[in-house]
Symmetry: C2
């Protein structure tokens, strides 16, 4: 029996996608081999990756002047690769709104001098405990920066923000880590210079990283950049300068088809908003639970919360698991609980969690 | 119906492994989730990666003073990462015996000046058309080199060599790209400073790279090395500085168990030698076919061959495919045909190919 899996990532995948993978695993479309057993340059996998790219372009309305890259190494490797490709001996601005943008900034600080460039902290909400997006007046932006880096959904702190107008006033390209909410709702790709995401939340299995990058920004990578980290080389070679992670790309392609079959990202946004509202209403309904994020910036994807009486944490997790509600333990950095409710989490899973939350609060009040 | 798949990689996987993956795909060991849907830091995946490492250590008798790393980016990213981690401002020797060691050397030449070091060509068999290993007198080795790099099985040219004594006389650590023959036979890990391999031949799905490295060699990475490319950081973090490619590691672990169940690498060597002998005898039995590699250095894994009358190439490939013998077209760099007969290729597949070769030669002589 399948459980409701609230893991932050690697995370729940759509069951119809897993069933297709299962059916096709030994013999993909009658070719007598698994799709993971054939050459990435052969006609079968070429079809898979071409369709995956086309479907992703359709889902996100990605303009032709953006390249779509299927890479390896996770968002963490992009923390290094982004300055290698885009810094060009100049300066970049970083906005810190939680643990992941903080990590991206730390790596940029480390690597920038090696690249002959520099980075600036253009704003931080650390004093608030990472419970909100920065206010426009808190930002100190360099109009000559090569790019401004943000994380638009902080997986650990549960802060989501897409009101980025203040960052875009000067026309500096915006680079966004969207690892934990890409494909959860429509976005306007044209507002960004580069979007990146580890796949293991809303896209597919771990081991794949998506990069969507405006082509003119790829032109001047640092000379020491390893070839497979260069966006220009990967774009020229259809993400196949070397063997790509074929299984992860195949599954991501099936996820894209599944999203389209449900009505695309506008439909997903409705579903995700409804799921999130249900859960936050349940948390706010009693002082037994608490989510510290300012309501306006609460993530639809990652819902951290705490019990008022933390001595009940272990009991809570045990009883939740017994009820088929798994992996609710919060990240060790912040403690408490976290429910990650990505695209693949059905409304029924969130309803079951909400019912459990109410029941647990009554029984332990 | 499953076909005999002679793809050079991504390549045929053992059918019992694929069947296990298929059975467990929606519910791994009764946890109610797929193993690819759970946190890499949770107890389930921790068990998977720990067992995979333990089984690999047992198969290859890897000593404790070697780290085993499960990485991303393919052997191609290692072409950059190896000098980043090991060059240390010094010099390294490269021996070129085919397309892959040539690529490794080209990338080392490119990146060494960035790292403040240099590389030397310590020997090449290019003049022979890459049809043999270098003779000891053809090697020009620097006793002060930080390492000597070799590719012990050239996937495109079909040259395999493990008689490396001449390279080891000076005690310089040997770095070996074993992408296309690791796990095909026993090797003495102690003779190497570092062994690396893309998984998509004998190990598992694409998207995983194994690195086995003597711990003392990891001590002085170049300061600019991205954290996820640093062997020391990855070793300290059990290959989980960030999210690893969990599906590929899980499948590799099943492949390790399958190898152990068949008797380990000594048993695989017997099987692989028998398969290779059968195929080379068939090729040598008639001037209709030709393999150019000196018999002593012929690969057990990758068997390139040509038809004397190359106008028959398309007919050959079509009839082979109709007989369920697929992906025999040679690499575009060398043309002709290539049969890759990794661990997962059963003897019956090679027998079927040999029968087809004999029959085709008779019909078209």
């Amino acid at each position: 029996m399948r459980v409701y899996n609230f893991s932050a990532g690697p995370a729940m995948l759509p069951e119809p996608v897993l069933r297709t993978v299962q059916e096709e695993l030994l013999d993909w479309h009658g070719i007598g081999s698994s799709i993971i057993e054939v050459s990435h340059r052969g006609k079968h996998f070429s079809e898979v990756i071409a369709r995956a790219e086309a479907d992703l372009r359709k889902l996100l309305s990605i303009p032709e002047d953006y390249a779509v890259l299927f890479l390896q190494g996770g968002a963490t490797l992009q923390f290094s690769a982004i300055p290698m490709n885009l810094l060009g001996g100049g300066s970049a601005d970083y906005v810190v709104t939680g643990a992941w943008s903080q990590k991206a900034f730390a790596e940029a600080q480390r690597i920038a001098p090696v690249l002959g460039g520099r980075v600036r902290l253009a704003g931080s909400t650390e004093e608030s405990g990472f419970t909100r997006a920065p206010r426009p007046e808190e930002l100190s932006l360099d109009p000559n920066a090569r790019y401004v880096h943000v994380c638009t959904n902080e997986t650990i702190h549960g802060v989501e923000w897409l009101e980025l107008e203040a960052l875009q006033a000067s026309g500096v390209p915006l680079v966004a880590d969207m690892s934990s909410h890409l494909l959860s709702r429509p976005i306007d790709v044209r507002r960004f210079g580069l979007i990146y995401a580890g796949a293991q939340k809303n896209i597919g299995p771990a081991g794949l990283t998506l990069v969507i990058v405006r082509r003119d920004l790829m032109a001047s990578p640092w000379e020491g950049t390893p070839p497979v980290l260069r966006y220009d080389r990967m774009a020229e070679n259809g993400s196949m300068l070397n063997t790509p992670p074929t299984f992860a790309i195949y599954v991501a392609g099936l996820v894209f088809q599944w999203l389209e079959s449900l009505g695309g990202l506008a439909a997903m946004a409705q579903r995700n908003e409804a799921k999130a509202r249900l859960l936050y209403e349940c948390i706010d309904a009693t002082p037994f639970y608490r989510n510290a994020v300012e309501p306006r910036w609460r993530s639809w994807m990652n819902v951290p919360f705490r019990l008022a009486d933390e001595s009940l944490n272990e009991t809570f997790l045990q009883q939740a698991e017994a009820a088929g509600l798994k992996y609710l333990k919060g990240h060790k950095m912040v403690g408490g609980m976290r429910a990650s409710i990505y695209n693949a989490m059905p409304l029924e899973g969130v309803e079951a969690l909400a019912a459990f939350l109410r029941d647990f609060a009554v029984r332990h009040a």
